[in-house]
Symmetry: C2
Subunit: 218 residues, 2 copies
């Protein structure tokens, strides 16, 4: 994944490789020796620079968040000129791309996923810095789309309805790859799937609207 660069300080190389390895096999299955070998670094370096494997994990996590947030800026949803329906479509598109990203960044996603799946003490920080911003962003879009008078609980449930439709492409990849590969075979298929989710959701959301504005239709 990340080719060996001798000019990168061993500290940074360790962090980078650790994130990758932890993402691939999880905290427990990741061995210090494997990480050090891949980083072309002596075994003792982990304890020298990070005190322990646990501490390395925590640092690797927050490093991964920084990277993800750096590559996926989230400010382009504040634009009030774009219709909320459009924003929702964009949100779903972006999310699906992110979840199916198998590159460098994808491994950071996997890392976060692991943390959700079996939380360590680091989860609380992740929730605050990584998950919550995404959730409130979607919540805002939905509140705009449905109208201010739609109650919070309905908005939240709808938010999970939409998130839920996207998430299987991250956490049930093993099933989808085996039984429904056509859904994500190529970028076009992914976009079609995203479009389905958008259509599905927009139609569903109509029933919860409390706004009179009836000029936004397919």
């Amino acid at each position: 994944m990340s080719e060996f660069n001798p000019h990168e300080a061993t500290f940074d190389r360790l962090l980078q490789v650790a994130a990758e390895v932890f993402a691939e096999v999880g905290f427990r299955d990741a061995t210090v020796r494997e990480i050090c070998t891949r980083a072309n670094v002596n075994v003792a370096s982990v304890n020298y620079y990070f005190r322990s494997k646990d501490a390395l994990y925590v640092q690797a996590l927050s490093f991964a968040f920084q990277e993800v947030n750096r590559h996926y800026p989230k400010d382009h949803f504040l634009d009030q000129t774009i219709a909320p329906e459009q924003k929702l479509a964009r949100f779903i598109d972006d999310l699906l791309m992110k979840l199916l990203d198998d590159s460098q960044l994808g491994c950071f996603n996997k890392l976060i996923l692991r943390e959700i799946y079996e939380p360590t003490k680091a989860l609380d920080e992740i929730l605050l810095t990584c998950i919550m911003p995404q959730l409130t962003q979607l919540e805002d879009i939905l509140q705009q789309l449905l109208g201010e008078k739609t109650d919070k609980l309905t908005v939240q449930r709808s938010m999970w309805s939409i998130l839920g439709q996207c998430l299987p492409f991250l956490h049930s990849r093993s099933i989808i790859d085996r039984l429904y590969p056509e859904l994500i075979a190529n970028p076009l298929a992914i976009q079609a799937t995203a479009q389905h989710i958008t259509q599905f959701s927009l139609q569903a959301l109509k029933q919860f609207k409390t706004l009179p504005s009836g000029d936004t239709d397919a």
Copy 2:
């Protein structure tokens, strides 16, 4: 979870306890010694009865499936007198209850979830015996609901839209418990959430119908 019963053969006790422990901490973090201690059994028993820890895991998995399938019979969806909308509502209700089941059976669910999340060689068998039946059941309901002329891909995508809405309550429990506990605070709340998913989906599905039958409305 399962209190020690001296009259139960050690073989059965091992299987039972192994399923619990594997579900709790995963294959790698589960130690043979922990399993044996909980089962009031000598360490060597695992290798005596099951040849290896790996083999024990596989057997524990298929044992878990048998138990789950025994407790959740799936034949009451063949009844042709029930409207497909009703069937969908029932399906979602059942699934949500299952996914949120924290009892004895819940641990079997966790076991299966783990297998989906990080597949071992055992996944293929699980897909066949445990996952596929559920999926095709939902697929059938949807095909009935949408009409025979709706294409398979749309049906499959819709199936994942519905499944996806339910699955977060299993695999993102850590987030929901922390940020949205009201959604599943008690049986009533769970039912309300299930009802939301049903309404959301039925409204969404309308746009994909290819059947003329227009007498099924909210």
